[in-house]
């Protein structure tokens, strides 16, 4: 799980153009939206693209997004649960 979390941090930084953020700045359990990284709604759409591009996962129910994208750890758990790590 830790390796997947570290990989995800790099992919999030690249996908969202977080030029001033380093992987170490992203805490696995910190909220991605609001506080924490302070991502916005367009970033949420980019994270959906990230999951499809790198892991071939399509989110079927948009309502699940809030839970999946709560933190890097919840994203990693979702990827694991889909057997795509």
């Amino acid at each position: 799980m830790d390796a997947l979390i570290e990989k995800l941090k790099g992919q999030i930084i690249e996908q969202l153009n977080l030029v001033e953020v380093k992987p170490a700045d992203i805490k696995p359990d910190a909220p991605l939206f609001g506080e924490g990284l302070g991502l916005d709604s367009i970033d949420a759409l980019e994270l959906i693209v990230l999951l499809e591009k790198h892991y071939g996962i399509k989110i079927q129910n948009p309502a699940d997004g809030k839970k999946i994208f709560e933190s890097v750890r919840t994203m990693a758990e979702f990827i694991k649960s889909n057997g795509k790590d």
Partner: protein
């Protein structure tokens, strides 16, 4: 009502000029590197800048130069005027064509159809106005014109109308054009010539002056 230009900025050929004076210059021929260098030099500390498309970065840098250089007259612009009475009127030749092409390329491969929402949101030229407005919480009128070349007559007339008819007390105006690594920005601040800000150095807004400053 006399309108005056209280400050202006130009960006072209790897150089930023404030009121005619060179303030940032780079050897980099690559606009991405030059814009990043300028962002750093101006100490803007606004991470969203890195997510903007090139047109928005260009307009943002020109406006920030006007509003943030210490001791420049423009730094007090936002304090002198109510944010809901500041209008933003911009124009260019290439619209958002540069970003449109990037987006078009991303949707042309049907086997790997993964268009970027973050790119899509910049496929309109007036998004640069939104970026400036969001940064400074400006909520006045706004307009973006696309024309063959810099149209001083249009900009002067439209600005004068806004000051007369709309709830406008100040304006950020100009030209922001970016396409295929060619770029040029000319942004100027317009305010009413009140006693408190009238100064011999400020010049009345008119077409001749605009064309001279644009060159």
């Amino acid at each position: 009502m006399e309108l005056i230009i209280t400050s202006y900025c130009k960006i072209k050929r790897n150089t930023i000029y404030l009121e005619g004076n060179k303030i940032i210059s780079s050897n980099s021929e690559n606009p991405s590197y030059f814009f990043a260098e300028a962002y750093k030099t101006l100490e803007l500390n606004y991470p969203k800048f890195h997510k903007m498309d090139m047109l928005s970065k260009l307009g943002f840098l020109a406006t920030e130069t006007l509003l943030s250089i210490p001791k420049a007259f423009g730094t007090e612009f936002l304090l002198r005027n109510n944010l809901n009475q500041i209008s933003i009127i911009l124009s260019n030749h290439s619209s958002s064509l540069d970003t449109d092409r990037i987006y078009q390329k991303s949707i042309s491969n049907k086997d790997q159809y993964l268009p970027s929402p973050a790119t899509f949101v910049y496929t309109l030229p007036n998004i640069v106005i939104g970026e400036i407005a969001i940064k400074h919480k400006i909520t006045g009128e706004n307009a973006f014109f696309v024309s063959e070349k810099f149209d001083a007559e249009l900009l002067v007339n439209y600005t004068q109308e806004l000051f007369k008819e709309a709830n406008t007390n100040a304006a950020i105006c100009g030209w922001v054009d970016y396409d295929d690594a060619n770029y040029e920005a000319f942004i100027y601040l317009v305010e009413k010539a009140t006693d408190s800000i009238k100064n011999a150095n400020f010049k009345a807004l008119n077409q001749t002056l605009l064309n001279q400053l644009f060159l």
